[in-house]
Subunit: 408 residues, 2 copies
C-alpha cells in the first residue's frame, strides 16, 4: 500500500504549529510496511483541499488526513472528503448522543457548531475519539481508502493506536512484525558500518535505522502468517546485532534512553544523587522527568560558583585554585563530597565549559569532566564535546547516565 | 506573492525527522506578507519530485525547497529543478575553490561526490553556506522563482537570515514591517478576547496571534515605503495593546520568555538561587540554558526527599510532619532556608505534586506551592495546575519566573 498524509490547517501554513502528526503517522505506517510517498499541508480552504485530495487519490491508494474536524466554521474536511467520494453528509445519531452526554458532563451548552460534529459522509465508518469531541471516520471506494483524524496530537495518536493500526493491518493478508535494537553511545554512521553486511546481504527482515536524542535504533520488520512466526524470522538478525553491539544495546523496546535507565534504577531500588555545574540541573531534570523517580532520586546540587562547590560538596579551595573548577580533580572531589553527604548508590558530578563563552586554549568549550560512583567507587571521565551550548549540555547529561549504565 | 514550501528527503517520509524547516520558513514568509498555500514533502525520488515541482509551479509563483543538496547519490534536487527550468548543470568554479579550501581546512580528502556539490543549473544565483558544504541557489523565469536551500536547519536558517530575507523583500515595492507584543501569564483565547475589537475593526497593520511555550505573541505587520513609516503605522495599535495588557507584556522583540528574564537579571547584576522539589531541576536548567547565566545563577538545590529539605534548607521536621512536604508552610521555609544560605537577590522554592501518581483528595495532582523572594522579602503562591506531568512541571517553572518578573 502507498500512502499520502495530508494535514489540514492554516495554523501550519502560518508557522504557528509544527506538523508532528505527519512524522508520527509516517513512522507508524512504515512499521506496518506501508510506503509513505508524500506529506502535504493545506489551509482551511475547501477548493485547495479538494484539488489536493483528488490529486492524491490518483497518486496513492491510502490517504490519511489530520485536522479540520473541529466545530468551527473553517473546519471543512468532512464536507470536502465526502464530496470527493460522492457522498453527502448525514447526521449520525450515535455521535450526537455522545456529544450531548459530553457537554452535559462538562456542564456547557452545546452550540449549533457542535451539532455539526455529528454529521458524517454517508457510509463512513466512525472512529470514536475518547479524548476530544471530534470523532474520525473512514471512507472507501474501489481505489482508495481515506482515513480522517482530528488534529490535536493527543487525540490523533490515541485513535491511531486504539483503532487505525488494527484496521490497516487487516487490509494485509500478513501480519507485520517489527522489533527494535536500541543503542546508546555510538554515532549513526559508525553503527551502520558495524552491520553494513547484514543490511546489504538480506532483505527479510528489512532493516531501517533511526537516530534521535543520542539513540540509534535499528528497526527490523517482517511479514509473517503470525506474530510468533514473525519473531522467528527476525530472531537471527536481532541476535547477531545484539552480539555485535554488545554493551551499546540498552533496550529492545523503548527508545527512551533516560526512561529505561530510571526504570531500571526503580526496579533495583538504587538511589541516585547529582552535583552539576555546567549542566545546571539538566541531569536531575531528565531523571525526574520520569514518573516514579521520586522513589530513587535523593537530592541534587547545582553548584555553579566555586563557593557553592566548596560549601555544598566540600571541594577544597586548594584544588579549585591549583587545578581550576573544570578539572579532573574538582570533578572527583565533587562526587566524593556528594557521596559523603547522600550515601546514594549512584552519584554523578559534572563540571565543564558549555560555552559559547568561557573557553580558553587549555580548556576549550566542550571540555567536560564527569565524576561518577557506584556504591562509593569513584571514577572520572574526560569528555571533549563539540557543538553549541545546548548540544554540549545534552551530550554531557546523556553521557553521564551512560557511564553509570555501563558500570552496572 | 503565493508560496509552496517543498521539503525533500526520504527521512521525513520515514518519520525519522520532523519537518521544522517548513514551519520556520512559513513564519518568516508570513512576516514578509507572503502567503504560504502549501507544504509538500517528497522523498529522494527524481520522478516524483519533478511532478510535484511542475504542479507547484502552476499553483504558486514562489517555491522554496529544503534538503536534497548534499553530496550523496540520492540528493538530486539540483538536477530536477534545473530540468524544470530548462537548465543543465554547470560547474561553478568559485564554489569548487571554496569546497577545496574547506576540505583542506578540515584535512579530509575531497571525493567525486563532493565535486558534484559545485555543479549548479545554468544562470542560477548561488547562495553561500557558511555553516556547511552545500550552497543554495535561486532560479527564475517569467512566472516562477525557485529558491533551493540545504536541509540541515542550522544551515538553512542562517542562509535565510543572511540572504534570502532581503532578496524576497526586494521583490516587493514596499517594505514589510513586523513588530511583536509578547505576553506571559494569559491564555490564547483570553488574550484574543481582550483585543477582539482591535482585531476585527482594522486591517492595517494586520494582527496575527501565535502561542507556544506559554507565550502569546501578537504580530503586527504592515506594508510601507520605509521602515520608519511602517513603525508609525503600527505604533497606535501597539501602544493600545501595551495599555490593555499592561504587566502581561514581557517583551516587544524576543519571544523567548526565559531568555528575556535571565538577560534582564544579568543586566541588573541580580543573583538567583533555586530550591526545587517537584520540578526536579527544571527551573535551574531553564535559567542555565541561557548563555551568560553563570554570572547570576548562584546555586540550586533539588530536595526531593524530606531529609534533603531538612538538611539543605533547614525546613523543620515539625512543619513537614504537620503540614506535609507539599504545603504553603514548607514552600515558605524552603525559600527562607535558601535565602539564609545564599543571600541571592532572588530566591525561588517549589514543592508540589507533578503526578501522575502521588495525588490525594486534599492534595491533588497539579497542586503546587511556589515560594519566592526578592531581597529577602518572602511570599508564597499556590497554583492549581492541570495536565500531565510534563505540563505541570513546565507551567510551574514558567510561573515561578513570572511571579518574580511581576514583583520586580
Amino acid at each position: 500500500m502507498k500512502a499520502t498524509i495530508i494535514a489540514v490547517g492554516t495554523e501550519l501554513l502560518m508557522g504557528k504549529t509544527v506538523n508532528t502528526n505527519s512524522t508520527y503517522l509516517s513512522k507508524e505506517l512504515n512499521d506496518l510496511g506501508i510506503d509513505v510517498l508524500y506529506h502535504k499541508v493545506v489551509g482551511d480552504n475547501p477548493k485547495r483541499l479538494e484539488e489536493l485530495l483528488l490529486q492524491s487519490m490518483k497518486e496513492t491508494d491510502l490517504i490519511i488526513t489530520t485536522g479540520g474536524l473541529g466545530p468551527t466554521q473553517d473546519d471543512l474536511t468532512k464536507e470536502v472528503i465526502g464530496k470527493a467520494f460522492g457522498k453527502t453528509l448525514h447526521m449520525n445519531e450515535g455521535v450526537l448522543q455522545d456529544l450531548k452526554a459530553f457537554f452535559k458532563k462538562i456542564d456547557r451548552e452545546m452550540t449549533d457548531n457542535n451539532v455539526r460534529q455529528a454529521y458524517f459522509p454517508e457510509s463512513a465508518r466512525i472512529i470514536p475519539n475518547d479524548k476530544g469531541t471530534a470523532p474520525g471516520f473512514i471512507l472507501e471506494n474501489e481505489n482508495n481508502i481515506c482515513i480522517s483524524l482530528p488534529g490535536p496530537p493527543r487525540e490523533m495518536k490515541a485513535m491511531y493506536q486504539a483503532e487505525i493500526k488494527n484496521i490497516l493491518n487487516s487490509y494485509s493478508q500478513d501480519t507485520i512484525v517489527s522489533q527494535y535494537v536500541n543503542l546508546f553511545g555510538i554515532g549513526e554512521s559508525s553503527a551502520e558500518d558495524m552491520v553494513k553486511d547484514l543490511i546489504s546481504e538480506q532483505s527479510d527482515p528489512s532493516i531501517a535505522i533511526y537516530a534521535g536524542n543520542g539513540v540509534i535504533s535499528f528497526r527490523l520488520t517482517t511479514k509473517a502468517k503470525s506474530e510468533d512466526e514473525g519473531y522467528e524470522i527476525i530472531k537471527p538478525i536481532k541476535d547477531e546485532m545484539a552480539k555485535r553491539f554488545g554493551q551499546l544495546v540498552f533496550s529492545y523496546d523503548s527508545t527512551d534512553f533516560v526512561k529505561v535507565f530510571v526504570e531500571n534504577l526503580i526496579k533495583k531500588s538504587l538511589t541516585i544523587s547529582t552535583a552539576e555545574s555546567c549542566t545546571g540541573g539538566l541531569i536531575a531534570k531528565m531523571i525526574t522527568d520520569v514518573s516514579g523517580a521520586s522513589s530513587i532520586f535523593e537530592r541534587g546540587y547545582i553548584t555553579y560558583s566555586n563557593a557553592a562547590k566548596a560549601d555544598e560538596l566540600n571541594v577544597s579551595e586548594e584544588t579549585l585554585k591549583k587545578y581550576g573548577a573544570v578539572s579532573e580533580e574538582t570533578a572527583l572531589e565533587m562526587v566524593e563530597g556528594l557521596y559523603n553527604k547522600t550515601k546514594s548508590n549512584i552519584c554523578i558530578s559534572v563540571t565543564g565549559i558549555a560555552g559559547p563563552n568561557g573557553g580558553s586554549k587549555e580548556k576549550p568549550v566542550g571540555l567536560v569532566y564527569v565524576g561518577y560512583a557506584v556504591d562509593g567507587d569513584f571514577k572520572v571521565k574526560k569528555l571533549n564535546l563539540t557543538g553549541d551550548r545546548e548540544r554540549i549540555r545534552r551530550l554531557t547529561a546523556f553521557s553521564s547516565l551512560d557511564l553509570i549504565r555501563k558500570r552496572m
